[in-house]
């Protein structure tokens, strides 16, 4: 059972529709108990970073952190990905989950903002050296790590973005996109995944990513 977290922000219906199309078993989670009971969690979101404050009010934040710590696969989409970072310049007083380092910033004035439309992903080969070493010691296998979420995609696929703030490139960045500067289009560490773009609006490539998430 995949829980889609409902905290009153944006595109929950679109995300739900895409998972329905894939035949996944879905529940909408507005309470921590539903998150506790789920196998996998999707945190959607679109709009202003301050919308994430609803996670604090409803006690959802603790439930999400607990689930991630327990190893449940977690997918943050758009604002849901930005939440995984330390915070955002868009709402300075509101902390993110702090699972990936860095803060989200506004695009430079050299480009139009928001960044709206289809842009391509550059998939990082060995994106997380720490994870690679960890896997190597565990499995005895070496070589570049490929993102578990993005591994089935063709090279440089196009996906749909709509956002004014971007997350920095870190060692956990599994794909970058260029818009005035390179930013984190996808991040990944163990069971935690985040995508800045909207897989539910990214045609066949997006559906493939969601299908992969269903199977991790």
């Amino acid at each position: 059972m995949i829980a889609i977290v409902d905290y009153g922000a944006g595109n929950l219906n679109s995300v739900r529709k895409a998972f329905d199309h894939l035949g996944a078993e879905i529940t909408i989670a507005g309470h921590s108990s539903t998150i506790d009971a789920a196998d996998k969690i999707v945190l959607p979101g679109v709009g202003h970073f301050s919308a994430l404050s609803a996670l604090h009010v409803a006690g959802l934040r603790e439930a999400l952190l607990k689930a991630m710590l327990a190893g449940k696969p977690f997918l943050g989409i758009c604002l849901g990905m930005q939440w995984l970072f330390d915070g955002s310049e868009e709402a300075r007083d509101l902390p993110g989950a702090g699972l990936f380092s860095g803060r989200c910033r506004q695009f430079p004035a050299t480009v139009k903002s928001p960044h709206v439309g289809w842009n391509n992903l550059s998939l990082s080969g060995a994106f997380d050296s720490e994870l690679s070493e960890h896997r190597e010691s565990r499995t005895g296998k070496s070589g570049p790590e490929i993102s578990r979420l993005l591994c089935h995609l063709p090279s440089d696929p196009f996906v749909y973005f709509t956002h004014s703030f971007y997350a920095p490139v870190t060692q956990s960045t599994s794909a970058t996109t260029d818009y005035g500067l390179p930013f984190s289009a996808a991040v990944e560490r163990d069971n935690i995944f985040g995508v800045q773009f909207h897989p539910e609006k990214s045609g066949a490539a997006g559906l493939l990513i969601l299908k992969t998430f269903c199977e991790v």
């Binding site: 219906n13 679109s14 928001p114 260029d178 609006k201 990214s202 045609g203």
Partner: protein, 253 residues
């Protein structure tokens, strides 16, 4: 690289897709959900469903069409026509739209732009502007292009952005339905005046018109209807040609 979007627009009335020239002589062009799906498969980057009659009798029919189209559509879907208050917008989002386009209502009550942007995000608010040439400037028209407002298009586009619009859908009434090319001068003037994306509309008839509106017009996206659904030009062919002309597009998709 951010690509230039090709948007397929479906004018809907009474639950059917129709197309006319300069808002007149409407012809039947099919079922909205089927047309939307077909265009997405052909490579459309986005779909717009425009309720061109937008009377209260047609409201439910339109919402039903949006809902059916949204079910199998995995590219962005925008819906316009007849959205006069926040409750109208909410029902369209509930039916599965990602964005709403507001035109006359935004002119009459500009605070609606802010209201919808605050609740659903700026990315969900497209302000549609119908523009007509007046000597050296452009005038905003409302009510499906029937009523002049005396307002200047550039100023209204700037105000829309300031009030929270995420995109401008700019239709040249002079060019609409003529297939004689976009009004690049109009599009460029607005594209340079605002920092949000501008979708050019009205006049698409050939591949070179799209090249012109992206290069000279500096459009971020271009919208067309009749050339796609009467199969004068397939989106697949259009994108291949744009790609060959070095216009960045989502191709192959």
């Amino acid at each position: 690289m951010l690509t230039k979007r090709i948007i397929a627009c479906l004018d809907v009335t009474g639950g059917r897709v129709v197309k006319g020239v300069q808002f007149k002589n409407l012809r039947d062009a099919g079922d909205p959900a089927e047309c939307a799906d077909a265009h997405a498969r052909d490579g459309a980057d986005e779909i717009v469903l425009l309720d061109i009659t937008a009377t209260s009798d047609h409201r439910e029919t339109m919402l039903e069409a949006v809902s059916r189209a949204a079910r199998t559509l995995f590219v962005p879907l925008a819906v316009g026509g007849g959205i006069r208050k926040i409750a109208d917008a909410a029902s369209v989002f509930d039916a599965g739209a990602d964005k709403i386009a507001i035109n006359s209502a935004a002119v009459h009550q500009p605070e609606l732009i802010t209201e919808i942007a605050m609740r659903f995000g700026s990315q969900a608010v497209v302000v549609a502007i119908d523009a007509k040439r007046r000597n050296s400037s452009f005038e905003v028209f409302v009510n499906g292009g029937r009523v002049p407002t005396g307002r200047d298009v550039i100023q209204w586009a700037r105000e829309s952005e300031a009030r929270g619009a995420g995109e401008i859908l700019l239709t040249s009434m002079d060019q609409d339905g003529t297939r004689a090319g976009f009004d690049c001068e109009l599009v460029r003037a607005v594209a340079q005046a605002v920092s949000i994306p501008v979708i050019a509309s009205g006049g698409a008839g050939s591949v070179s018109h799209f090249v012109d509106v992206f290069r000279e017009g500096q459009a971020d996206a271009a919208l067309a209807a009749s050339i796609f659904h009467f199969h004068i030009e397939s989106i697949e062919h259009l994108k291949r040609e744009l790609h060959a002309a070095n216009v960045p597009v989502r191709w192959p998709c």
